[in-house]
């Protein structure tokens, strides 16, 4: 995750509290999604950005995960994400995201 986005996530979490923040990712593959998810839960694994060593433990989902998909209007989802859902390796992304959440997310819901 680039440094500017790390800063935004950190600032928003400081302002609203970790329990009130959900991060929604749009990364194109499992590995990249996992790295971003790790950054906003366990801290920046590259130790380069504002989240280095900062364990926010935020709720984090990818846009193709059912937890997000089931919350939004189906027509809008189809219009905005339907095509990419066909292209991405959804199972791989869900597996990667679930692993990260189970290990590092502070909220058990």
């Amino acid at each position: 995750m680039d440094l500017e986005n790390q800063r935004r996530v950190k600032d928003l979490t400081d302002k609203h509290g970790a329990e009130n923040v959900i991060v929604v990712l749009g990364a194109a593959e499992g590995e990249a999604a996992g790295l971003a998810a790790e950054t906003v839960t366990a801290g920046d694994p590259t130790f380069a950005g504002p989240l280095a060593g900062v364990q926010l433990g935020l709720r984090v989902y990818h846009a193709v995960e059912p937890e997000f998909k089931d919350e939004v209007d189906a027509d809008v989802y189809d219009e905005q994400i339907g095509m990419m859902e066909m292209v991405l390796d959804v199972d791989e992304i869900i597996e990667e995201m679930t692993d990260i959440r189970e290990e590092f997310c502070k909220f058990d819901d």
């Binding site: 194109a28 593959e29 219009e79 095509m83 990419m84 066909m86 292209v87």
Partner: protein, 512 residues
């Protein structure tokens, strides 16, 4: 009005290992932030030799010695594969070694800003004298060279940017002003590299296609640098400066910018200028970017592979009046990402791919080949950026499925049949749509394919003036053989034939 045609193209690469170390921004940034880093220590051991770069299959594809179809027969990764007996010269262009290119930087420098050491000049002069496209007139611009101690003085005292070859300082690019940052040595270095590599592409275009430079009316340059001074940072004009060096005495030109989308914007501009009759022969040309050399070097070194971003890229395409032979540029089938399009991948692909198809009542499967961002996946995959062309083809195919023009189970076949492997260096504008134009022209003239869509996309947000993304596309199509003149003539002939028949018919009445 008749459509314009793609009359020829030139594609060049320049092997620049020392520029990877000293001019690529990943390395220059690392040197500021972390000068003792392991990466900087390891990097020199990961640079390829000139011969390795020449025989690298994607590079042989870029200059036209093997087709994209042939490249796809090589199993990835490609960096451990070689094309046997690979030639530096190809059907569309060449791969120039660094020393000759440094000589060319001096040749194109009209303000005496490039200083080269004497013995280096005499070595490189001999090499360039054997180069088929470098004329005596150009060789003479190399001059005699200077003493090394004078060059070192420029570097130490006057902020000149050193030029390295084989790890040694053999020259420098001097600043053109002592205060103006737009004329400092760093900027002038980048700009002279653009000019030299653009000129090399232009020379190859003219030579490989037997085009008289004096026939060129207009030049559009579409790289990603800007030349100007502190009062007009992007004043221009690389286009005319390239025309000057390459003998296009009847041409003027201008620079078009649009990040990686600029080449396709320029192609559409050139097609429109020719179709409108404003100019007969318009060249779209671009040189390469030193800043992007070794951009993904950290990942390549980490994965213990060669640093593959060791070449500058350049290209030139000639757009001319319809000759009834070369493929036409369908200006009626143009796609564009507008301000209001939105940024979801679906909206982007719709605006660039299906909107132009709808104008021609075409299906996604009616276009034989899509030329998208043709980045070499050998470079991008180890860096975690995936296989860019394949992702694009999947998105186009998925939109086809949504439009019910394609069965979902046919998605991978669509990628295989309508797509290609990426072969272009990650030089921003260089991989964007245009690398296939040369192959497309040949395949259409030979009757192997009927149509291709050239797609360019650009990340405008990098310039911080807008959050928007950008892109344009245009369909290139096999020529049906009818030019405006032949159509006009045949119509005239038919009228005469009808008139004659009427007269003959009437005369029968009078005879009776």
């Amino acid at each position: 009005m008749s459509f314009s045609v793609v009359k020829g193209s030139g594609y060049v690469l320049v092997h620049t290992p020392d520029m990877v170390l000293h001019n690529g921004t990943t390395q220059t940034t690392e040197r500021v932030v972390n000068p003792e880093s392991e990466y900087l220590k390891k990097l020199p051991n990961h640079l390829r030799s000139y011969q390795e770069t020449v025989s690298y299959p994607p590079n042989q594809t870029y200059i036209g010695n093997i087709t994209p179809e042939k490249l796809s027969e090589y199993k990835m990764p490609w960096y451990d594969k070689n094309i046997e007996d690979a030639d530096r010269f190809g059907k569309y262009g060449e791969i120039m070694p660094q020393d000759e290119f440094i000589g060319l930087m001096k040749i194109v420098d009209v303000f005496d800003l490039v200083s080269l050491e004497k013995s280096f000049v005499s070595d490189v002069k001999e090499k360039l004298e054997n180069h088929p496209l470098i004329t005596d007139e150009l060789i003479n611009k190399l001059k005699e060279g200077e003493e090394l101690e004078d060059i070192e003085k420029h570097i130490e005292e006057y902020e000149a940017e050193p030029i390295y070859n084989d790890g040694k300082v053999i020259g420098c690019v001097n600043r053109a002003h002592d205060v103006d940052i737009n004329l400092n040595a760093h900027t002038i270095y980048e700009n002279i590299v653009v000019k030299a590599s653009g000129a090399l592409a232009m020379l190859n275009l003219l030579n490989k296609n037997d085009i008289d430079p004096e026939s060129i009316d207009y030049i559009v340059e579409c790289s990603e640098e800007a030349c100007g001074d502190m009062n007009q940072r992007g004043g221009g004009n690389f286009a005319k400066s390239i025309g000057e060096i390459t003998g296009c005495i009847n041409a003027t030109g201008s620079d078009t910018r649009g990040f990686c989308a600029a080449p396709t914007h320029s192609l559409i501009e050139a097609a429109s200028l020719v179709q409108a009759g404003t100019y007969d022969n318009v060249v779209v040309v671009a040189g390469g970017a030193t800043a992007k050399l070794g951009m993904n070097g950290k990942d390549h070194v980490k994965k213990d592979m060669p640093v593959l971003e060791d070449t500058l890229g350049g290209f030139a395409i000639l757009v001319s009046k319809n000759d009834g032979i070369n493929p036409v540029l369908r200006t009626d089938l143009v796609g564009r990402h507008t301000v209001g399009t939105g940024s979801s991948p679906q909206a982007v692909i719709t605006s660039l791919i299906t909107n132009p198809l709808d104008k021609g009542d075409l299906k996604i499967t009616d276009i034989d080949k899509y030329s998208v961002e043709m980045q070499n996946p050998d470079i991008t995959k180890p860096a975690g950026a995936g296989d860019v062309p394949t992702s694009n083809y999947k998105m186009i195919g998925a939109l086809g499925v949504k439009r019910k023009e394609l069965e979902r189970k046919e998605l991978l076949n669509f990628v295989k049949n309508h797509g290609m492997p990426g072969w272009a260096p990650t030089q921003g504008h260089i991989p964007s749509g245009v690398p296939y134009v040369g192959f497309a022209r040949d395949a259409m003239v030979e009757g192997e394919i009927n149509s291709a869509m050239i797609v360019g996309k650009g990340s405008l947000f990098l310039g911080r003036m807008t959050n928007l993304f950008d892109g344009v596309s245009i369909v290139m199509e096999k020529n049906d053989g009818k030019t405006e003149e032949t159509e006009g003539a045949s119509e005239e002939t038919i009228k005469k034939m009808v008139a004659k028949a009427m007269r003959d018919f009437a005369s029968q009445f009078s005879d009776e």
